[in-house]
């Protein structure tokens, strides 16, 4: 298991009022993403636990794009990876942010 942490500056604060959201499942080729509030509104912290070693540069690229493109400010995100491809990771992160915006 490899643990990675990215502390990213964001452009847009997260919307909605929901305190926590969970998307995806830990399964082969999939991942679970837990989103919580609690960081400064211009900042997003992402902690990743992945069984696949040696992909730090790819995680760096995916999370940087996510922070730049999404309303992710103020979020603390925990990723439990099951060896998902980058396109699945990007989709789950986008789904998580959307779910935080939805009323409970």
């Amino acid at each position: 298991m490899e643990n990675l942490r990215y502390e990213l500056s964001t452009t847009t604060p997260a919307g909605g009022t929901r305190a926590v959201a969970l998307v995806g499942v830990v399964a082969s080729g999939n991942l679970e993403v837990l989103l919580e509030r609690g960081e400064a509104p211009d900042r997003c912290v992402i902690d990743i636990a992945t069984p696949a070693h040696g992909f730090a540069d790819l995680w760096q690229a995916v999370t940087a794009d996510f922070a730049a493109r999404s309303a992710a400010g103020g979020l603390r995100i925990t990723v439990n990876d099951g060896g998902a491809r980058p396109d699945t990771v990007a989709l789950r992160l986008a789904q998580g942010v959307r779910l935080m915006e939805k009323p409970e």
């Binding site: 790819l58 491809r85 980058p86 396109d87 699945t88 990007a90 989709l91 789904q95 959307r98 779910l99």
Partner: protein, 548 residues
């Protein structure tokens, strides 16, 4: 004085040699090898009917058993190289030269045999192109074809899988060649006459149906959420704005996802009746729910699909069916329809390069093309206008004089940025080029040329190549939807953002697509069983797809 009927006399000699081993037109199965040795001559051009789906398997097995001392150096001209016997005859010297279109299951062996000098390759063709050559410079001297049944006069019933047969018979029979058919049974009266008896010279009773493979059944259970997102991008980003009513879909999971989103997502967007009404398409089981909910007006088919026969028989307004009630497919006509009467082709590929050229060649496989290069190309001979065609032409050439400006067919490549085994769909150099080097081919086997491709859709967005004004813009538009592949990560970010402002690239958020919709619950059917239920039990899935 010149003899103006040498071909006719040649056929007459073959007919007489064959009749010695036949009773009328009927050849007994046990005499088949001797019969073929009697009617074939060394160096003959032979079409051994191997279509995309059905195979003249009994004739193929018999041909592989003829004595190479008597029959050798044949020139095989057939669309599909599918059965082991299709290549065995090259190992033994019965055949030497090959012109073909598609070799799916034999793709690795065919490459090895070409490399080892066992096969002298003419060319790899698209279907329509090979059919065209049957009438110009590759007319068969003998055609070995497959039908469901025959009557004693030799009238043939080809049933739902008519496919290539009328084209092969037309060229061979009227070109003074010999037509030999294997049939599953000989009956007093055929259900309908697909091939008239006077074009058929001999019939072999195989006493069992020809071999046929289900090629177009995609299990909805295997469709991923990324594929659903990609399908939403295609529907909202392309089908809706262009208003595409006449189209062809490839056979991958991405287009299966589109078919399964029409009654849900498409309905929500108000597109019913405005898109996807007329099709050149194999009978995809995944289109059943859209047909049942009234989206589809008409479908013409290249071939059939195992298990769809009863469903199509029960929907004669939608499918082309005969007086017997069953489907009549025809690959040559359907390919022509896809080329000239459809405004869109959308299909998956395995590799796309920076110019937009795409190829399904990976490693040492010569898979051929089938119909994709024809479907996925702009028909330069087209003259009738339609809204999507005119709009695409206008996007490509906004300053051209409208009345003199060609329209453009929408040719769309769709897929996830990483495919099976995490292989990137975007590459700097196509594997097809390495194969061409290795086999010393004049042309690399490119499936769809970059200058025919109008759009590329991935989970990252839609790239509209019609709006690109130069080579650099085109390259960056492709990199801009290439995700986290090496090609995608090497993008010029500033230029990609400028392209996005001009809507050359559109991301899911630009199109108002909610990522939460990318969920399997959006599929109108989520299993083969759901498809069967949607058909009212008329669709009978082959056993390999039944997991309940």
């Amino acid at each position: 004085m010149r003899d103006w009927n040498m071909k006719g006399r040649d056929r007459q000699a073959r007919l007489e040699a064959g009749r010695r081993l036949a009773s009328g037109k009927v050849v007994a199965a046990q005499d088949l090898v001797a019969f073929l040795e009697a009617v074939l001559r060394p160096g003959d051009r032979v079409c051994l009917e191997g279509d995309n789906q059905k195979q003249a398997d009994v004739l193929a097995k018999a041909l592989a058993k003829v004595d190479p001392a008597k029959v050798h150096d044949l020139h095989m001209v057939q669309s599909g190289v599918v059965l082991p016997e299709h290549l065995d005859i090259f190992e033994t010297g019965i055949a030497r030269r090959l012109d073909f279109s598609y070799s799916g299951p034999q793709s690795a062996r065919i490459a090895r045999m070409m490399f080892g000098g066992r096969i002298e390759l003419g060319a790899v063709h698209t279907y329509l192109e090979l059919f065209a050559r049957y009438f110009i410079d590759l007319t068969p001297q003998v055609a070995l074809i497959a039908a469901v049944s025959a009557d004693r006069a030799g009238n043939l019933y080809t049933g739902p899988n008519t496919e290539d047969t009328p084209t092969v018979v037309e060229a061979t029979s009227f070109g003074k060649g010999l037509v030999i058919a294997q049939v599953g049974e000989i009956v007093d009266q055929v259900p309908r006459v697909d091939i008239p008896a006077d074009q058929v010279h001999f019939v072999v009773n195989a006493q069992r149906p020809f071999y046929v493979e289900p090629l177009f059944t995609r299990d909805p259970a295997a469709i991923t959420e990324t594929q659903i997102l990609t399908a939403m991008l295609a529907i909202k980003g392309l089908y809706a704005p262009y208003g595409v009513r006449r189209l062809n879909h490839g056979i991958g999971f991405n287009t299966a996802a589109i078919e399964l989103l029409l009654p849900t997502y498409g309905e929500r967007l108000g597109l019913k009746g405005k898109v996807c009404t007329h099709w050149a398409l194999n009978p995809h089981p995944t289109l059943i729910p859209a047909i049942e909910s009234g989206w589809v007006e008409q479908i013409h088919c290249f071939g059939s699909e195992v298990g769809m026969e009863d469903y199509m028989r029960a929907r004669p307004d939608i499918f082309f069916t005969g007086p017997d009630g069953s489907l009549r497919s025809n690959r040559a006509f359907c390919q022509t329809a896809g080329l000239y009467a459809c405004d869109m082709f959308i299909g998956s590929t395995l590799q796309i390069d920076l110019a937009g050229n795409s190829s399904t060649i990976t490693g040492s496989r010569v898979a051929g093309f089938g119909g994709a290069p024809n479907m996925g190309s702009d028909a330069r001979g087209r003259r009738h206008p339609s809204a999507p065609w005119l709009r695409a032409g206008q996007e490509a050439d906004p300053t051209g004089a409208p009345a003199l400006r060609r329209g453009r067919k929408l040719v769309i490549q769709i897929g996830e940025t990483f495919g099976d085994g995490n292989a990137p769909m975007f590459v700097e150099r196509l594997s097809a080029l390495d194969l061409a080097d290795k086999l010393d081919l004049d042309l690399a086997p490119v499936m769809v040329y970059g200058d025919d491709v109008t759009h590329i859709v991935t989970e990252e967005g839609v790239a509209n190549l019609l709006l690109c004004r130069d080579k650099d813009e085109r390259e960056q538009a492709i990199r801009g939807v290439a995700g986290y592949t090496e090609v995608g990560r090497a993008r010029d970010r500033k230029m990609v953002e400028r392209l996005r402002e001009r809507k050359v690239i559109q991301r899911p958020e630009d199109l108002g697509i909610d990522p939460l919709d990318a969920d399997r619950s959006l599929l109108v059917a989520r299993s083969i069983k759901d498809l069967m239920i949607a058909s009212g039990g008329l669709y009978r899935p082959p056993s390999r797809f039944r997991n309940w």
